[in-house]
């Protein structure tokens, strides 16, 4: 059975880019959904099974950090892997997001291979292509 993925970013272009990289990564994917902010993402997560969330940080209505906080508070974080994709490359930001429960972090700009490597690390061998 393949992955059920949710891509969260306020930029439709970046969601397309991440979706393309995911599909080319070789990881087996059953479903790839999208949300434009943390609030939309939470609504989807509460109503649909998801295995992996890839999220930006700075988004309107609800940020990636607040999304992680809510996922932790509602128990979603215990069963959903999360990977942050952001232009913020500072150590303190990366540390903050990992402390909030993110399983991985990729800085923009990124080589598609870098995203693939982080996916492999976050997912382990379960969904390897």
């Amino acid at each position: 059975m393949g992955l059920r993925v949710l891509i969260v970013d306020d930029s439709p272009l970046m969601r397309t880019v991440v979706r393309r990289v995911m599909l080319l990564s070789g990881v087996e994917i059953d479903l790839c959904s999208e949300a434009s902010n943390g609030l939309e993402a939470l609504e989807w997560l509460h109503n649909h099974p998801v295995d992996l969330v890839l999220t930006d940080i700075n988004m309107p209505q609800m940020s990636g950090a607040d999304l992680l906080r809510e996922m932790k508070r509602t128990g979603l974080l215990a069963r959903i892997r999360t990977l942050v994709i952001s232009t913020d490359s500072t150590d303190h930001r990366i540390h903050d997001m990992i402390e909030l429960g993110a399983h991985g972090y990729v800085t923009k700009p990124f080589h598609p291979e870098a995203l693939r490597q982080e996916l492999d690390r976050v997912l382990g061998n379960e969904y390897a292509g």
Binding site: S11, V17, N58, T87, T90, F110
Partner: protein
Amino acid sequence: MLADSSVITRADVDALIVTAAAQVLEKMFFTGIETSGNEGDIKMDSPVQVELHFDGPLSGALRLQIDEQVARSLGSSLTCLEPDEFSRDCCVQLAGELANMICGCLLSHLEPEANLALTPPVETPEPTGAKTGIRRWFCLPEGELIIHFLLEPICDSSPPARVSS
């Protein structure tokens, strides 16, 4: 990264603009800079301009100008959409993402651990030819790109002065 991060000169920032642009273009767009410069006029048939601001230990703005056709070319290779599927709205989004990534990369070199807040990039009217800040044009295989970077404060190259302790 600057050798002495407490002294930022105009020449330092100009060099970092080139470094940041090259990194972003190579990693995300699989393209490179053929030539670049500060002087001269670049005419664009259908320019798209976006601007974002940043605040924190460093404050300022970055404006990026790119021709629609160049944005379409970069964007279609990035997304695998056909060029005619890449609307003007997509071109504006691409310009915004490019500005966001170049600014983030540039600021990470200037102040690696600073807590900086970047505003979302927004489309703006064409530039009025402002004389402040650093303006650099880039010639890519796909066409031209202009970045206008304003940092408060910024020193002339001689003599350099402390910007922050």
